[in-house]
């Protein structure tokens, strides 16, 4: 199953994120590598959820860690590192979407619903790839406000409260966007449900 990441890698050592950050701050270069290994799946999932799979998404995911590296001295651990990284990932993804809009990128300029599932109709695609295609195309047709909330809640698995913390939005707004986003998604995905 080449397209699946089985489970989150649990490190043999039980050093916490904040301990690794402190180790890095005190000169232990390898600690940063461990942090990247520990959080890369989560960060990539968020960015790929927002942008779709491809080199651009990988670039943005890498940029998240470079951004973190540059600001690591100011990380005090007030929020969980995963939340902190997700916030960076969302911000950079939104910047990328803006850039794509400016450049009239293919991903967001695809025709709406009538052309959206063309690729998925090919019979030789495995079910898994097809599912991914369906989700990517459906997400690409959502407004960013809804897409962010859907990705964080339904793909990353954050709770509504965590989503509101990451996006720094009131819980009520998150709930509304989640409900509207799901309604819109349901319309887009109707023939697959």
């Amino acid at each position: 199953m080449p397209f699946t990441i089985k489970t989150k890698t649990v490190k043999a050592n039980h050093t916490t994120d904040i301990e690794l950050v402190q180790l890095f701050q005190s000169g232990e270069v390898n600690a940063f590598k461990q942090l990247v290994q520990r959080h890369q799946e989560q960060v990539r999932k968020t960015v790929i959820g927002m942008l779709g799979e491809g080199a651009e998404a990988e670039d943005v995911a890498q940029e998240v860690f470079i951004n973190f590296y540059k600001k690591i001295d100011s990380f005090r651990g007030e929020s969980k590192l995963s939340t902190y990284l997700t916030r960076i990932a969302i911000n950079l993804s939104l910047n990328e979407i803006k850039k794509r809009k400016r450049n009239q990128s293919r991903y967001l300029s695809i025709d709406k619903e009538e052309n959206i599932f063309q690729i998925s109709d090919k019979k030789d695609y495995s079910v898994q790839i097809e599912t991914k295609e369906i989700i990517h195309k459906a997400l690409a047709n959502l407004d960013e406000d809804y897409r962010v909330v859907i990705v964080l809640r339904m793909i990353d698995g954050y709770s509504t409260k965590e989503v509101s913390e990451i996006l720094q939005l009131p819980m009520g707004t998150v709930g509304t966007r989640l409900a509207r986003g799901q309604k819109k998604l349901k319309e887009i995905l109707k023939k697959y449900l």
């Binding site: 080449p2 290994q37 990988e58 890498q62 339904m154 793909i155 709930g175 409900a179």
Partner: protein, 130 residues
């Protein structure tokens, strides 16, 4: 009324409803086939998203570390680029002050005064000739 029930249905996926709310939703679900269909579609859709996976990228960590190294050297370059105007301005100022000093001491800016030949005494010239 229907809007309320839809809201309740959506909320039921996110949080535990209070007992009266739960009862209201269950009653509405019993009565409305449309609402049942909607609930089933939401369940299927959420399950679709729960099974969303991404391809593995075994070179990711390596790529990040490489870019970090690159950004460090870019930082050095950035510092040099940032400092360049100040260094250039300091050099120009030094040159101007030197020229002004020379002018004030020798009263002119001839080639001899610039290279310092105008201060050489006759004896020294004789010495230099041998």
């Amino acid at each position: 009324m229907m809007k309320d029930i839809h809201e309740l249905l959506m909320r039921s996926f996110e949080e535990k409803l209070s007992e009266p709310e739960q009862r209201r939703l269950e009653n509405a679900l019993k009565k409305s086939k449309e609402l049942q269909l909607e609930r089933d579609e939401i369940i299927k859709m959420r399950s679709l998203f729960q099974h969303f996976t991404i391809s593995e990228n075994p070179t990711f960590t390596k790529a990040v570390l490489k870019r970090v190294e690159l950004s460090k050297s870019e930082n050095v370059q950035a510092v040099l680029v940032r400092l360049f105007p100040r260094i250039a301005a300091a050099c120009i100022l030094f040159l101007l002050v030197s020229i002004l000093g020379l002018y004030l001491v020798d009263g002119g800016l001839s080639m001899d005064s610039i290279v310092g030949l105008d201060n050489i005494s006759e004896d020294t010239i004789t010495y230099l000739e041998f």
